[in-house]
């Protein structure tokens, strides 16, 4: 009788034991495949979420008095509006940004109290970014009113507000933000430039860049040196807390992935190993009998290794199918923004087809060799 014939008969006889072992291999492979199939989406999703925490670079007119800037929340100096276009051209030169928003802000009195009028230009999106960023999209002649201003003036959507003698339709009253945005009125940059009589001027560019990825290396120093040469009319400040939080979040995700992957492997490996040991233990008398009948240790080991190969091979294919199905079905629900990154990875099938049988064989090999190393009489007494 051939080794494979004996193996197949044993598998058919011990169906539940086989199914339990198969379940271990399938679970291990499925978890691993599902995890890696969604890994890229997970990383991109995290990048998006952290990006949306806010801007992390503020580019200001060179001659801004920083005491005034921090006291008022905006620069009282201006720079040409085309600065944003020139800044954008340095993408991939000494910086990489995600998107840029030029703005002009001034404090005005509205019914005796100060509000900040904020004119926002449409976002300049980096060429590599395919989508428009989430945020305000303001139409000409309309404004978005901060919570405190709306409360004080009794404004609601569809109402009107007069700014520097010009009337604007209230497009939206914003929810309470807990920041100075609550006393802001947001309008289109060109509208705000017109009412402030500052056409063609801005006083800030807010930017999301990728410097957070190298936050440990103080990218601000490099950026300031480069900007001093390229855009001498500007200076830059970085919102360190947000940049650092973003870098920490990404590093945390990487550490989590580095921990989770081997953890899944170790748990499933232990599971397969325990089942392999139980199988050998269950078959100890059989091992003793085969040795009594003159089977060599190698031939007996082959019986177990061939079984592991069958188990690992079937488990790898089923595990890959189930893991991919789980990732494709549930991944888009979890990672809504980056769902398109989730697709079957056939490289994982090749990997699983080699690793699962090899590991199952290794897990079986050790207890099997321990069993065949005993005198046959010891094994026959195994019951």
């Amino acid at each position: 009788m051939t080794v494979i014939a004996i193996v197949l008969k044993e598998l058919a006889h011990r169906k539940w034991s086989f199914l339990l072992s198969l379940l271990a291999v399938v679970t291990a492979v499925a978890l691993f495949v599902a995890y890696f199939t969604t890994a890229e989406a997970s990383q991109r999703e995290t990048a998006r979420v952290t990006r949306d925490l806010g801007f992390n670079l503020r580019i200001l007119p060179k001659n801004t008095d920083m005491d005034q800037f921090w006291a008022d929340g905006f620069s009282d100096q201006t720079m040409p509006e085309d600065t944003v276009g020139r800044f954008a051209k340095y993408e991939n030169v000494f910086l990489v940004y995600n998107h840029l928003v030029a703005s002009l802000e001034r404090k005005i009195l509205l019914q005796g109290k100060a509000v900040i009028v904020s004119g926002l230009a449409p976002a300049v999106v980096a060429p590599a970014q395919k989508r428009q960023p989430m945020g305000f999209a303001i139409r000409a002649g309309t404004v978005l009113v901060g919570f405190q201003v709306a409360q004080r003036l009794g404004l609601a959507k569809g109402g009107q507000i007069e700014l520097a003698g010009e009337k604007f339709a209230v497009e939206q009253c914003l929810a309470e933000s807990g920041t100075e945005d609550d006393i802001r009125v947001f309008g289109l940059l060109s509208d705000v430039q017109r009412i402030l009589k500052l056409e063609g001027l801005i006083n800030e560019i807010k930017a999301i860049d990728c410097l957070c990825l190298t936050a440990d290396q103080d990218p601000l120093k490099i950026l300031r040196a480069e900007l001093a040469k390229a855009l001498p009319e500007t200076k830059v400040i970085q919102l360190r807390a947000i940049a650092d939080a973003r870098a920490k979040q990404r590093r945390a995700l990487e550490r989590y992935a580095a921990f989770f992957s081997p953890f899944v492997l170790v748990v499933c490996a232990a599971w397969i190993g325990v089942l392999a040991m139980l199988n050998v233990r269950e078959r100890k008398i059989e091992i003793g009998l085969l040795r009594a009948l003159g089977y060599s240790s190698n031939r007996i080991a082959w019986l177990f290794l061939a079984k592991s190969a069958v188990l690992g091979g079937v488990g790898a294919v089923l595990g890959y199918a189930i893991g991919s199905a789980l990732a494709l079905n549930f991944g888009p629900e979890i990672f809504k923004v980056t769902a398109q990154a989730i697709k079957p990875d056939f490289g994982l099938l090749a990997w699983a087809s080699v690793a699962a049988p090899a590991f199952a064989a290794l897990a079986t090999f050790i207890p099997a060799m321990l069993a065949v190393a005993q005198d046959p009489a010891e094994s026959l007494r195994g019951e």
Partner: protein, 219 residues
């Protein structure tokens, strides 16, 4: 055929040492039918396992057919066992997922012996199991299972059969049948050593040995 020279076997347990064979000497001639009797725990099974090359003695020498068993390495001993010795166990030790013929052929599937399917079928028929040839052990009676074990022991035409309480789980009728098959083998020129605490085997024996505390007394 079988020679024990001052053989001792000591098991080391947590409770202390257990001396299962104690300087045992024995010579079994070719074509002899030996029955070893004795109470449980007197060392009968250890005697049989050491004679079959399945359990290293602590000291002394054992030879079968002139071959010093434990001077062979594990692989050589496995080959020698497959060719020269047949085993019959009290618990039958049939492989549960193989049918009768496959269980018998298992003895002929080791690398050192060519499987002989015709002989397997002949043996199964001779032992009255032809109608059960493709049944699994679970579907057989205890008597039938022991006859399968005897067929398996006979497949490679060994010179020696070692039987450990072969009728311990059988009714008198089946037990007598088992001994008749062992006697057939003996009459055909084979050597048989049976260990048992029953008395039925004595009527087939050339010699009955009494074992007590790891030593033998002839009778």
């Amino acid at each position: 055929m079988v020679r024990f020279e001052n053989v001792s076997k000591v098991y080391r347990t947590r409770a202390g040492e257990v001396r299962s064979l104690d300087g045992l000497n024995l010579e079994v001639k070719p074509c002899e039918f030996i029955v070893v009797r004795g109470p449980s725990g007197c060392g009968k099974t250890t005697l049989l396992l050491t004679a079959g090359g399945m359990l290293h003695p602590t000291s002394g020498e054992i030879s079968v057919g002139g071959q010093a068993l434990y001077s062979l390495n594990r692989r050589e001993r496995a080959v020698f066992r497959a060719r020269e010795i047949g085993f019959v166990f009290q618990m039958f030790h049939l492989v549960p997922y193989l049918n009768v013929i496959e269980n018998v052929l298992l003895a002929g599937s080791s690398a050192c012996v060519r499987p002989n399917s015709k002989r397997a079928h002949d043996l199964v028929a001779r032992l009255g199991l032809a109608s059960r040839a493709f049944h699994k052990p679970a579907a057989l009676s205890t008597g039938e299972r022991q006859r399968v074990a005897i067929a398996r022991a006979l497949l490679n035409q060994p010179k020696l059969i070692l039987a450990d309480e072969p009728t311990g789980n059988l009714d008198p009728e089946n037990a007598a049948e088992v001994f008749r098959h062992l006697e057939d083998f003996h009459r055909a020129g084979g050597t048989v050593i049976v260990v048992t605490h029953g008395t039925m085997a004595e009527e087939y024996a050339d010699r009955v040995l009494q074992m007590r505390a790891g030593s033998l007394n002839g009778s």
